[in-house]
Symmetry: C2
């Protein structure tokens, strides 16, 4: 949105009640006709602005959209999502962010979309991305990182997502992390995290951290393969989740987690990760990147973020990346 | 080049002497006027084709260019450089190949250029890329590889480059590898290798393997900072290097090295690497990715391609990636 309408929106928000056209005209240094045009722009974008001759303008409602002017209003981050690109629909926010990164976008530049028609998940899977109910967000990162440390970005992000989700649920449900990247509410998946990166040999040039969170999905609309395994945050809150407010809270937690990760690596977040980690003691099968399969009982998480599995023979193996299946017959 | 002129070129090459317009016309199933047009296309591309009325056409000379029809003529690879894109000039063959990879180019698709005006070297450095004298080549790879193994692609490529260079020198000079990626003739650098990759967390989606080799550089034209440290293959051969033939030999060695790397990892190439490795016993300083500095005496190369350094106190440290400086006062 242009600067004029954005400024009018800010003034109407601050006024928290009617605001005369005269006052807006003076504050912006433009004519009252121009103020009216800005108000019309806001209305076209979905803002409800009441206006009565003599009574001035009043902000009566904001659209349920992840517009920059919604997310950034009151956003306290220093670098994350200070540059924010909104799409009604795109193929994949990660793809767009990777393109922005190649074009030189700064650390923290973020892409949000209302809908993805080719949302990407881990291991080449697609990510269920219905319109106007969730958050699909991808952030450009320019970390000082070697490629072998890059997977721990996922763990840092999982901590931030889990904390944001936990601060939003109101029914006391357990919020847990399934290694490496699923955040679950009461045992059902509510978010996915995907890191894609470009590197020169071992040096990460840039990474894109994609986060998708199910916020207001009608459970009936989940595809068959997810039903019973997926959930949406609104099933554990009083009424629908304010998506822009959720994004704001997430970006705040995420900036903090990434700053600590940059300073101290995964070790700086390991305590929080473990506090939300739901797999210790569980029997699992892991298909590692490359196809090798490991089975064992989860012992915990290593300093470097690897999953520690104890085999039946008692030896402990490290799994750096892979797809984990909890053995059946157990409830989470 | 189009199919018609390419086919005429093949027939003239096979004829190894004059070939009548009539025969070419029959072989291609086109008119003699069309044959003449194809011959004109070849001449425009730099091929010398003698033609006398009644005497037919004869290939008298080929241009010193890295054209696909030059490199691929007699190329025995199965997958490497079967798709080959030639540029008179480009910014960086690695950049072009990365773009091709994103657009879906197959494993082995290769970009060659006569000149790069923004040639990329390791660690963000530029790569000296004068026109028409060297080989600048970048190949798209779609390896089954985790990011932590990706740096060993550089070592596999270094083996292939070193073998190709060694098979070309005629003055008996030593051809050695300076870890990780420089091939040296008599102690002077003659090639550079750069791997750039795209990954999802730990899984490499695609990589681009860039190789630049100094073949026919006039030593006087080396920039000041390289003089005394760089050399060109032609300083160790009888006359100029046939660049297309060198590319063909390199691609053959490279396909073999990469196939063995895919099957057995760096371990499958370690013997050859060590046989050309010039650093054992040398005192070096390594600036690692991330900035940490290690000093010590080189003990050798680990199974996974890491450089092994022995500190003064006698402990052995592994260096996975970094920039190596040989301590001064020693001759290589």
């Amino acid at each position: 949105m242009n600067a004029g309408p954005t400024r009018v929106l800010e003034l109407l928000r601050d006024a928290n009640g009617p605001c005369s056209g005269e006052r807006l005209s003076q504050a912006l240094g433009v004519s009252r006709a121009q103020v009216w045009k800005h108000v019309e722009s806001l209305r076209k974008r979905g803002y409800e602005v009441d206006g009565t001759p003599g009574g001035g303008y009043r902000l009566a409602g904001s659209p349920d959209r992840l517009y920059p002017e919604e997310i950034q209003s009151g956003l306290g981050t220093r670098w994350l999502a200070r540059e924010l690109h909104h799409f009604d629909s795109t193929d994949s926010t990660n793809r767009v962010a990777l393109e922005l990164a190649r074009a030189g976008a700064p650390h923290g530049a973020t892409v949000v979309a209302e809908h993805q028609d080719a949302g990407r998940g881990r291991l080449g899977r697609s990510f269920f991305s219905p319109a106007h109910v969730n958050l699909y967000s991808s952030t450009v990162l320019r970390p000082e990182l070697t490629t072998d440390r890059a997977p721990t970005l996922i763990l840092a992000a999982a901590v931030a997502v889990a904390e944001t989700v936990a601060a939003t649920v109101t029914d006391g449900s357990r919020v847990e992390i399934k290694w490496p990247n699923d955040v679950q509410i009461a045992g059902r998946k509510t978010s996915g995290i995907l890191v894609e990166l470009a590197a020169e040999a071992t040096r990460v040039s840039h990474a894109v951290l994609g986060i998708g969170v199910n916020l207001n999905v009608d459970p009936k609309t989940f595809p068959d393969e997810f039903r019973g395994r997926a959930t949406s945050l609104c099933a554990h809150t009083d009424g629908p989740v304010d998506r822009a407010a959720f994004a704001r809270a997430l970006y705040t937690h995420l900036e903090d987690a990434l700053d600590r990760h940059a300073a101290g690596g995964f070790a700086a977040l390991r305590g929080e990760f473990e506090a939300r980690f739901c797999m210790t003691g569980r029997d699992v099968t892991v298909v590692e990147t490359g196809g090798a399969e490991q089975s064992g009982r989860v012992k915990g998480i290593a300093e470097d973020g690897a999953l520690l599995l104890e085999s039946e023979a008692g030896s402990v193996v490290r799994v750096v990346a892979g797809d984990v299946t909890l053995k059946k017959g157990e409830t989470p």
